[in-house]
């Protein structure tokens, strides 16, 4: 248990101390030594694109230059890549002496990747908090709550929203959306008895991401009942029924219907 809390602390201190920090959720922001880098400093958009591609594919070991370019740009030559990479290096390490090894982008021949040991990225931290939360869930609810809350804190919106029409960002966006939906629901469930208002808020956040997420409606119904608000619980069921019919042409699950029945029996 102490180990899980230690892992959370370790992640937090990494965020505080990292020389390079990147926010990709809700907006793209880079901090170098706690200083926010302006768009002007990036210069060309191609440098930002290449860097965001590195982030999106950070777990695929050593990305080959040609593959990167093929996925990113229509027509390209070596010069484009060099210029874009130089633009990144200039932003990350403006004072690096020429011909010395870059500190944050690992190069192996013609393959490149971000050094995740040195660069803090929100999506990477979010996933790690969720892993800790899931691990703690059955053995230490308190640590699970802390970890999930940290993850939720990091979720400021969808992944690289300015690149939603670029297919190389879709996988990461979908993955994060599902991770955070699951986290909202799990935390809302944990908090049902002790803090139903918070459960309502969390499930509402889940519904803002996906209005057809049936688990969220069920939790809201339970939370409203816990608060003694029967009319609102019934209204929530109605909303669920309408949206499922509209979007899928199906009715709520038996579990949800049974919950409605229980609520209807309350006088």
């Amino acid at each position: 248990m102490a180990d899980l809390l230690q892992q959370i602390e370790h992640l937090k201190s990494f965020e505080k101390q990292a020389e390079i920090k990147i926010q990709t959720l809700g907006n793209f922001v880079l901090w170098r030594n706690q200083e926010k880098i302006s768009d002007k400093e990036w210069g060309r958009d191609k440098a930002i694109q290449l860097f965001q591609y590195f982030i999106s594919n950070r777990k695929k070991n050593a990305l080959h230059k040609e593959k990167i370019m093929d996925n990113l740009w229509e027509d390209w030559d070596d010069r484009d890549f060099k210029v874009a990479l130089h633009g990144i290096q200039k932003v990350l390490e403006p004072n690096r002496i020429n011909r010395t090894e870059p500190n944050f982008i690992i190069r192996q021949g013609v393959s490149y990747q971000i050094d995740l040991e040195k660069v803090w990225i929100d999506v990477e931290a979010l996933e790690k908090y969720i892993i800790i939360g899931n691990e703690a869930l059955t053995i230490d609810k308190n640590s699970a709550k802390i970890a999930y809350k940290e993850a939720i804190e990091l979720y400021k919106g969808s992944f690289l929203p300015s690149r939603i029409f670029e297919d190389w960002t879709s996988e990461e966006r979908e993955k994060n959306q599902l991770l955070i939906l699951g986290t909202y629901i799990t935390l809302a469930e944990i908090l049902l008895d002790e803090n139903p208002i918070e459960s309502i808020r969390l499930s509402q956040n889940a519904l803002e991401i996906d209005a057809t997420w049936e688990d969220a409606y069920r939790i809201q119904m339970q939370a409203y009942i816990a608060k003694g608000n029967r009319p609102q619980a019934l209204k929530t069921y109605m909303k669920c029924e309408v949206i499922l019919e509209e979007e899928y042409g199906i009715s709520p699950l038996p579990e949800t219907k049974m919950l409605l029945q229980k609520i209807e029996e309350i006088h």
């Binding site: 939603i164 879709s170 996988e171 699950l253």
Partner: protein, 169 residues
């Protein structure tokens, strides 16, 4: 030359399963969402055919856009060729549907239509649409049972057709 980006359509498909108990039996429900990355449009589905239709529409638009400066004859020709890919998918589609998205409600409407078609081939007398709406919440085993019955029925129909043919001769 047309840009590569204008020749590409990417789709992100999400499937969500719900396994639940009903009348003492385990059941599964599939829901899904398909997104067209390049324009951000989304479509939710509980029947995979709807996702395939969505993809087909997007790809047709892509072909139309890419051929808009050609004569209408050439454009029609290319569209026809493009559609031939969907004939293959149509053949595979129902199998995929049967194997993966076992949505009883929609499945039984499909079966209802299949039954209707087969029966109509034999005689007007028995061509009244079979009402199986009460099967809406049918289980997997019910589904297989009816599927087996349809196959048996189809075999019977074949036999009868042969008999009729031989009598005509």
């Amino acid at each position: 030359m047309i840009k590569k980006q204008a020749q590409t359509a990417s789709f992100m498909v999400r499937f969500h399963q719900q396994i639940f108990e009903e009348n003492g039996e385990s059941k599964i429900q599939w829901k899904g969402k398909i997104s067209h990355v390049q324009d951000g449009e989304e479509k939710r589905f509980s029947d995979f055919k709807d996702a395939l239709t969505f993809m087909q529409q997007k790809l047709n638009t892509l072909t139309e856009e890419a051929t808009k400066y050609q004569t209408s004859e050439e454009q029609e020709n290319i569209l026809q060729k493009s559609l031939s890919m969907w004939k293959a998918i149509k053949d595979v589609g129902p199998k995929v549907l049967r194997d993966t998205l076992k949505d009883p409600k929609k499945q039984f409407h499909n079966l209802q239509d299949q039954l209707q078609d087969q029966i109509s081939n034999i005689s007007e007398e028995i061509s009244e649409k079979i009402q199986i709406d009460q099967w809406k919440n049918a289980s997997k085993s019910d589904f297989h049972k009816v599927q087996q019955q349809i196959e048996d029925l189809a075999a019977e129909i074949k036999k009868m057709s042969k008999k009729i043919d031989s009598q005509k001769k």
